[in-house]
Amino acid sequence: MSERRFNELRGEDVVYAVHRQDRTFLPSADYCPLCPTRPCHPPTEIPFRSFEIVVFDNLFPTFEAPQGAAEVVVYTDDHYGSFATLAPERAEALMWVWRERYEELAARADVEYVLIFENRGVEVGTTLHHPHGQIYGFPFEPPVIGLERKADARLGGCATCTLLERELASAERVVHANEAVVAYVPFAARWPYETHVVLREHRASLAECTADELERLSSALQHVTRGFDELFARPFPYVMVLHQAPSDGRRAGHLHVEFYPPLRTADKLKYLAGCEQGAGTFIMDVLPEASANALRGAIANVS
């Protein structure tokens, strides 16, 4: 069981999950725990010879009942590939899987916030290459969600709605759009190719989306991630996080997906160094308009 301590100087919780120190680390394909279990081979986490999408309790959980949850979402039984290379119907099905897990976990008394995310690439700390994501059921509301609510108060309404209107008005940083979803590099991006994928309509969570919106969300996410891989002609590491309403019944929140990619060039990483960690101020080497222009072109190349 993890231990939670409050960091007074930061005004935020720190979670100590020391049992995770020994979790599986970059195994070869032959020993991948997320592959199907094959005859005459040791069992993996998934006791089937094939599967479509599977969700299971993390063997090394950061949170677990009765104080939250930690789940692994395996996108495919194919060890190779990525979210970007999934067949469109599989990516669309994943939206429904996320939605089902959001609804079930959000209904639990010990879950205050459902965080759906993917860490892709060793640059952001992934320990398994098999295409997968994770879901944390937080037993408390994490600070980023509180910051979003403060932004709502500062802007006098839904901040995401306001920012989307601004981005659509300028169109300078929009990299992809369809009937239901807009993707843009935000005005004050903190990562060189930070990208937000936002529902046009105010939807508090996946649970409020129509089937058509889920299909278009999956399509937009695949366009963006394929564009990422095209940008530097290499697998593009990123952290992908769904932002939704907390699970306490309040409707505050506007479903959107944020990408935090650490690359600033094909072979250089953006680090969180003295200014970012010591002062909380991000220093950027590229303007969002320039990175949006490059990413827009890359997405167009693969569309």
Binding site: S50, E52, A93, A211
Partner: protein, 53 residues
């Protein structure tokens, strides 16, 4: 002639005979792993909620 022994009883739940649930376009099959952790297999084709290749 001696009577044949009765057939052995069928297992209560063969892996592929567990009740399935539905969620939107998905078919769900829930399992509890040997160590007590839960696993859900999702299928959108309806052909593969886990187990059969």
């Amino acid at each position: 002639m001696a009577a044949l022994p009765p057939d052995p009883p069928e297992p209560a739940h063969e892996p592929d005979e567990q009740p399935l649930e539905r969620f939107g376009p998905l078919v769900l099959r829930r399992l509890v792993k040997e160590d007590g952790r839960s696993l859900i297999s999702f299928s959108w084709t309806g052909r593969n909620a886990g187990g059969k290749s």
